[in-house]
Symmetry: C2
Subunit: 300 residues, 2 copies
């Protein structure tokens, strides 16, 4: 049996009771360690908490060596641990499809992921459109496919969750070219960088998918004791000090309910100012006013 076990967002103890039982009984336990991190835990603290060995699975192992992970799983229990939920932001569909091909049974133990826990900022999950990802720009590479998606969401009034880039175990181009297995220190995109990159693309695309005054919510360390939300305009967030990772960003849509707004007031510097920005932003993509159909009675 292959168990896909979600670890949740932050603490070693964010694993479910059922997940912990599985981890304890499995023959081998792998930790997917390249698309996200547990904010309050590492391999050592997980091993202490589980009372057993945990094997770090990097990109090479997962994408190139899935048969190594799955070896013997027809008869033995193998666990594959994923930060968040196994089917959250990063999915491991390849691994599951390969396991199926090998006739290995699969059981998933779900957990919270950023995709649902982000509701803690008070915005309703119902009001979110498609989720987008934002990668670190370089001088020559500024992928902006997120822009059209935010535009699509905002055209129909919806909020957008923007997942921010994480670079773990990346090689510099120089080290790669020289074949040196030296990795850069991990990098986690801050809310300031995300806001700057979003505005840079708005300047070049100029279709008003959003503006410097569009209200957003900076989401920092979601699910951890240092969790923090900041509601402000995109321009204001370019100067926000978001602190330790991990971060995400929400671009608000036009449909902001009163209850959502009231919830967000807890995270603003100036309530009246924020409300004004929300109201102004609601003018974008506003549907045309209702015009009653012409009267069929011609008795006027």
């Amino acid at each position: 049996m292959l168990y896909l076990v979600g670890l949740g967002l932050s603490y070693t103890s964010d694993i479910t009771v059922r997940g912990l039982e599985v981890v304890k009984k499995c023959k081998r336990v792998y930790l997917e360690a390249y698309t996200s991190i547990l904010m309050q835990a590492d391999q050592k603290s997980l091993e202490d908490f589980y009372g057993r060995e945990v094997i770090l699975a990097d990109r090479e192992l997962v994408e190139g060596g899935s048969d190594q992970i799955l070896a013997g799983a027809e008869q033995d229990d193998i666990a594959f641990l994923v930060v968040g939920d196994p089917y959250g932001a990063t999915t491991h569909t390849d691994l599951v499809i390969r396991a199926r091909e090998l006739g290995i049974k699969i059981e998933t133990i779900h957990n919270a992921s950023v995709m649902n826990a982000v509701g803690a900022c008070g915005l309703q999950l119902y009001q979110f459109g498609q989720t987008v990802s934002l990668v670190f720009f370089t001088d020559s590479w500024k992928p902006d496919s997120f822009y059209d998606k935010i535009l699509e969401n905002r055209k129909i009034g919806l909020h957008t969750l923007v997942l921010l880039d994480i670079k773990v175990k990346e090689q510099s181009i120089e080290n790669m070219a020289r074949g040196r297995l030296i990795y850069d220190p991990p990098r986690y995109m801050s809310i300031e960088t995300a806001a700057r990159q979003l505005l840079e693309i708005e300047e070049s695309r100029n279709q008003q998918a959003y503006t410097p005054n569009t209200p957003c919510v900076g989401v920092s360390r979601l699910g951890s004791p240092q969790q923090k939300f900041k509601a402000a305009t995109l321009k204001e967030l370019t100067k926000y000090e978001s602190g330790e990772p991990l971060h995400s960003l929400i671009v608000l849509g036009r449909q902001v309910h009163d209850l959502e707004l009231e919830f967000l007031y807890d995270f603003v510097d100036d309530k009246e100012k924020f409300k004004k920005f929300v109201e102004e932003d609601q003018e974008y993509f506003k549907p045309p006013p209702y015009v009653p159909p012409p009267d069929d009675d011609d008795d006027m």
Copy 2:
């Protein structure tokens, strides 16, 4: 402190280790018992698992008596348990805002909800638009606001998660009129009913938000040992026997990746037939073909 604790989807042991620690230490523990159910657990089995008393909180208590729930939470620890995630499909924003007004600290212990665990069917969460709800129709009441939202999602190629109605502790109109506190047996919408209701609205609205041949995924008992997915057209699902609750339904969007499709094949009756329906459905809301901009050089 008010702890909002997510219970996950199915088993008593789907609570997180941290959630269980909190439940054990709290002075009072409430279980929100009217918007969803744990499929493999009830009040009694939860009390046995936690080794303590759990107070059932019905709609009257949560919406009318939140001060009763919050009494003493300035100094004592109170837990409010919610099936899924506290900020998932049903949120308790009112309770949180009231706690804030009373100066009570709040901590959330997240868990899986249908909103993220649904990724287990192989469709990428990135590719979902806004989530909609479908309520039981009556002869005189057939609310169809979901229709425009599915249309909006499908216009931009996205999948739609349809959450199906749950009626727990509802009174009949007659009992309500006579002031009798007699409740109807709980009702959970099946996939068959959902598919029929969706097609009924398509027939009356007739804007081709979807068609009888639109591919869908029936999601049954998500996260439980009896979890089942069924990929079929909407029309086929009107005759599907989905079995025990809980259920949800996914209406596919045009953007179906190859990997998503390959994953879904495990849940179809006939692979080739399903593929054909997916391809035909992709013709709806297809963007116009790309026309290169006219050449500025007039040197022809």
